[in-house]
């Protein structure tokens, strides 16, 4: 099972900050996002914006990156620290 995390505005809109997911055939971040969007609203529009960033095992990655069930995958809006 992969751990999937949602931060800041994204977590608030989705009303969840983390879940455990079996990735099955979802070998890339993009495939996982397709799966999440298939859940309907608010998932489909939140991931539609094209402004969501992804980190795999705490390293910035992109939607083409490969993922497996042992990974921690985090989705979040552009960062606003400093």
């Amino acid at each position: 099972m992969a751990t999937v995390l949602y931060f800041a505005r994204l977590g608030e809109q989705l009303k969840t900050s983390s879940e455990e997911l079996s990735l099955d055939e979802m070998g890339t971040v993009g495939k996982l996002v397709d799966h999440l969007q298939d859940r309907g609203e608010p998932w489909s529009s939140e991931f539609e914006s094209g402004r969501i960033l992804v980190a795999i095992n705490q390293e910035m990655s992109d939607f083409d990156s490969a993922i497996s069930d042992s990974d921690e995958i985090a989705f979040f809006p552009p960062v606003t620290g400093g």
Partner: protein, 152 residues
């Protein structure tokens, strides 16, 4: 060598600057930057803000930014402190201290670290406004441009 801290507590700039020099005689310059909470954003009065972060990733991301600065410039030591949790106007949010043989390296490294932190470290601000509402702060395009200039 460098000190990285993500914390709720405030920090003391002069103490951090003394610590970074720590009796050394080979440091020619220190540069420090402090970011503060403003009481105004996008024409609205800000009463306070909450800083959220991604605990597993923040330290790693900050470490990576400081390492990259150390590879590009002569950095003898660096301190980077970022606060999280509840903050009010005039509170200190972030501190960068750089010690170097030369001022040019210290200024550049400090500026680079702030520009990269603004676009790569997983922190998010949520503002509470004086009218009682709250909103997540949007990333600024100008921060992306500021970070981009170091890639030229």
């Amino acid at each position: 060598m460098s000190k990285i801290s993500v914390q709720e507590q405030d920090f003391d700039v002069s103490r951090e600057l003394r610590a970074i020099c720590n009796g050394r005689t080979d440091i020619g310059a220190t540069v420090s930057f402090v970011g503060l909470v403003r009481d105004m954003n996008l024409d609205d009065s800000v009463a306070g803000m909450t800083l959220q972060h991604y605990p597993g990733m923040t330290d790693k991301a900050l470490q990576k930014i400081v390492s990259e600065a150390s590879q590009r410039w002569e950095v003898q030591d660096a301190t980077l402190i970022h606060r999280v949790g509840e903050l009010r106007p005039a509170d200190q949010i972030v501190l960068v201290c750089i010690a170097s043989s030369h001022r040019h390296d210290a200024f550049e490294a400090c500026s680079f670290i702030m520009d990269y932190l603004k676009t790569r470290a997983p922190f998010w601000k949520k503002e509470q406004l004086k009218d009682g509402s709250s909103r997540w702060v949007d990333a600024r395009e100008s921060d992306g441009h500021a970070a981009g200039r170091w890639e030229k």
